[in-house]
């Protein structure tokens, strides 16, 4: 016997259980902390480089580049990667917090930021590894 259509064939919404909600909340909290503290660390690093650069520009060039231009390029790529990574991790944490505050559209944004973080990290690590290998040879 054919059952009448009851409308229950529609896909059920994907729900997180309490454990998963707690994990997502913890991920967002730690990401915000990592983003904030990482930002402070980068500001301190910039301040020190500025100080060395103002007092002795030659020492700044020597300490960064050493005896190889590849090392300088590697440091610049790493610094830009760290800056972007810190911003993406912080944005992920903010969006997770916004999701728990009631913004349902914030979660796709949070997961997009984490995907972009992995893409950026992969590219930066690949470039610095190749440069490190070339410098070593």
């Amino acid at each position: 016997m054919t059952q009448p259509e009851s409308g229950n064939d529609a896909p059920q919404p994907f729900k997180l259980n309490e454990r998963e909600v707690a994990d997502l909340r913890a991920a967002g909290r730690w990401a915000r902390l990592a983003g904030c503290v990482g930002g402070v660390g980068m500001v301190l690093m910039a301040l020190l480089l500025l100080d060395v650069g103002v007092k002795n520009p030659r020492a700044l060039t020597t300490s960064l580049a050493g005896d190889s231009v590849l090392q300088l390029v590697s440091i610049v790529v790493s610094a830009l990667g760290c800056l972007g990574g810190v911003a993406l991790v912080w944005a992920y944490g903010r969006n997770v917090a916004a999701f728990f505050a009631g913004g349902d559209i914030a979660l796709p944004r949070a997961f997009r930021r984490i995907r972009q973080f992995f893409i950026l990290s992969t590219c930066v690590l690949a470039v610095t590894s190749v440069l490190g290998l070339l410098a070593g040879i």
Binding site: L16, G41, L48, I105, P108, I119, T122, A126
Partner: protein, 158 residues
């Protein structure tokens, strides 16, 4: 036409008994867009894990080259710092491996994998947060010692 006032003795309708996301304590509805983003990250997590493994090999190669070229007494500090860096990368690699496996399972359609995936995501950021805090605290202590000794930021003393 005016609507009649609600009957306080009316029994609840069946639709009133349906659970909603807002009513369920602790449960959260995840949109399809969010699930798509999680799935789309899977290949990149795998690539990141592989690149991290290559990076560790390159760092080891660099350390060995440095020590062989200049000798252990002159490269001891640099080699030890590089060793700490390699250990940190290895730690992240272990977590990334778990993340990549859960992410791949979720991407393949296993909905139960979202639990391990979110747990590993939390572990990843916890590890990153703890290491960043430790690193920045060590960095601040070093800067403070440098400023106190007059090596850095001399304008602070003027």
């Amino acid at each position: 036409m005016e609507t009649p006032p609600p009957n306080p003795f009316e029994p609840p309708r069946t639709t009133d008994l349906d659970a909603t996301a807002a009513a369920a304590p602790g449960a959260r509805v995840v949109s399809d867009a969010a699930l798509d983003e999680l799935s789309a990250a899977a290949p990149w997590v795998r690539r990141f894990w592989r690149v991290t493994a290559v990076s560790i090999a390159v760092q080891l190669f660099g350390v060995i080259t440095l020590v062989r070229r200049f000798g252990w007494p002159f490269t001891r500090t640099a080699a030890l710092l590089a060793g700490v860096g390699i250990a940190v990368f290895a730690l992240f690699m272990v977590v990334l491996h778990r993340y990549a496996a859960a992410s791949q399972r979720f991407s393949d359609g296993d909905d139960d994998a979202i639990g391990p995936l979110l747990a590993t995501q939390a572990l990843y950021f916890k590890l990153a947060g703890v290491l960043i805090v430790l690193g920045v605290v060590a960095w601040v202590i070093q800067i403070a010692a440098g400023i106190a000794a007059g090596r850095w930021l001399a304008w602070v003393h003027t």
